[in-house]
């Protein structure tokens, strides 16, 4: 280990507190997923639905989906969470990460279906693959916790820029217009925020 990543996260009370709360929430969500897989627990599903469905709908709206479609697709995502709960492996990914990848993949499929000139194109599956057993999966789970903690410490204006940039891949001038801030401010906020996040995601990145 180079130890280069250790200095990146600020050592503050807010970070420590947020991390603790986050981990507890993740544990609860992972337990709900296990209960769904083991005994088709509807109460556990309802609890997950109440937390995630409104956030998934919000995410889908951010990516530009019209409200009706975002509503339908959010329910579809939750239905898929129910169906695939047995596949969820907490050692591979946090519940939020896993649910995000389901929402992302269904969004890609829905966009492709709506664009497809013929049914054949709609059937293609180009969604990113599942992790492989040989990969260092704990890293991703731990990175998720550290990313959560880092997001909690980002100023809201930086977070807003990161959100639009990551979820929507919005061009910088678009972000500037939508947030009502100058283009230069978008660029500087994104640079600051991404430097922090990249330090968490890829502590050795500079050496590659």
């Amino acid at each position: 280990m180079s130890g280069g990543g250790d200095g990146i996260l600020p050592e503050g009370r807010a970070t420590a507190g947020a991390t603790a709360g986050t981990v507890v929430l993740e544990d609860v969500h992972a337990r709900h997923l296990r209960a769904i897989a083991a005994q088709g627990d509807r109460a556990a599903f309802s609890a997950l639905f109440r937390h995630y469905a409104p956030r998934i709908k919000s995410y889908l709206l951010t990516t530009g989906l019209p409200p009706m479609e975002a509503e339908e697709l959010a329910q579809e995502v939750m239905l898929t969470v129910w169906r695939k709960a047995a596949i969820f492996d907490p050692s591979r990914a946090r519940a939020a990460t896993w649910i995000f990848t389901i929402a992302r993949n269904l969004r890609i499929d829905a966009a492709r279906r709506s664009r497809a000139a013929d049914a054949a194109v709609a059937q293609e599956s180009l969604t990113p693959a599942e992790p492989e057993p040989a990969d260092d999966l704990l890293f991703a789970a731990e990175a998720a916790d550290r990313l959560r903690a880092t997001l909690d410490t980002l100023p809201p204006d930086q977070l807003a820029v990161v959100r639009l940039s990551f979820f929507e891949d919005a061009p910088h001038p678009d972000i500037a217009r939508r947030l009502g801030i100058p283009l230069g401010t978008v660029k500087s906020r994104l640079r600051l925020a991404m430097a922090r996040l990249r330090g968490v995601i890829d502590p050795g990145g500079a050496e590659r």
């Binding site: 088709g40 169906r83 990460t97 995000f100 664009r115 194109v121 059937q123 990113p128 990249r198």
Partner: protein
């Protein structure tokens, strides 16, 4: 550190990787189909980038959790609960052994990585002496053409003189150009301003996946011959 704990020898890892921008966009699901397939092919070869990809997905999860909730319809939970009974539960033990119903049958070519075997590939067709190609069907409305080329040892790869972005991943064999040597799993993303001229290495065929945006410029006899196949 401890030799006994080292994993068994594996094929060498790729040395040319997608940049952080491509990887994060792949994780976010915002890449167009052409480049997404080239990145997915690289990921099948590259544990380093798979690692990064999981971390970018974790950012997606963290952003999702901090997303401002937007209320669903009052009866949304009720309606979804009503649909659970009809929903078939996926069994973890069956996962991976049974292709999902909505995915085409896997291509039988064992040299292809999983990302490519899941795609709809056209038949091998003659492109030019020493070059054969298979079309990979992706959503045409996104503006990318994707081809799998098999280029005989020592031949030029027919994609120079393009306009727009070009994404390449070597699937088998190797090629070299001004940027260096590209072997199995190595990926390149170059811009229209770069007029490189990749050559398949002399000791074997090079199988490579190429996604190009826009039109191929008529640049050579080879370029003209490639045109009908690529459908321009």
């Amino acid at each position: 550190m401890i030799a006994a704990m080292r994993p068994p020898p594996s094929p060498p890892h790729p040395t040319h990787h997608p940049d952080v921008d491509l990887l994060s966009r792949h994780a976010a699901g915002t890449l167009a189909d052409g480049p997404a397939l080239v990145v997915a092919t690289h990921l099948d070869f590259c544990p380093i980038c798979r690692h990064q990809m999981r971390a970018w997905e974790a950012l997606g999860g963290a952003l999702l959790n901090s997303q401002r909730p937007v209320a669903l319809a009052d009866d949304a939970l009720e309606r979804t609960l009503a649909r659970l009974d009809g929903a078939q539960l996926d069994d973890a033990r069956l996962e991976g052994k049974r292709p999902p119903a909505d995915v085409p049958a896997l291509d039988p070519d064992p040299v292809l990585p999983p990302a490519l075997r899941r795609q709809r590939l056209g038949p091998w067709r003659f492109v030019a002496p020493g070059i054969r190609g298979r079309a990979v069907r992706v959503d045409p409305t996104q503006g990318y053409k994707v081809m799998l080329f098999r280029v005989a040892a020592g031949m030029a790869i027919p994609m120079h003189g393009h306009r727009g972005q070009e994404y390449t991943c070597v699937v088998d064999g190797a090629f070299s150009d001004v940027f260096g040597r590209f072997g199995s799993g190595d990926m390149a993303a170059v811009d229209a301003s770069v007029d490189h001229q990749p050559l398949a290495e002399p000791d074997g065929d090079c199988l490579c996946l190429i996604a190009v945006r826009g039109r191929l410029r008529i640049h050579s006899l080879l370029g003209r011959l490639v045109q009908p196949l690529v459908g321009l």
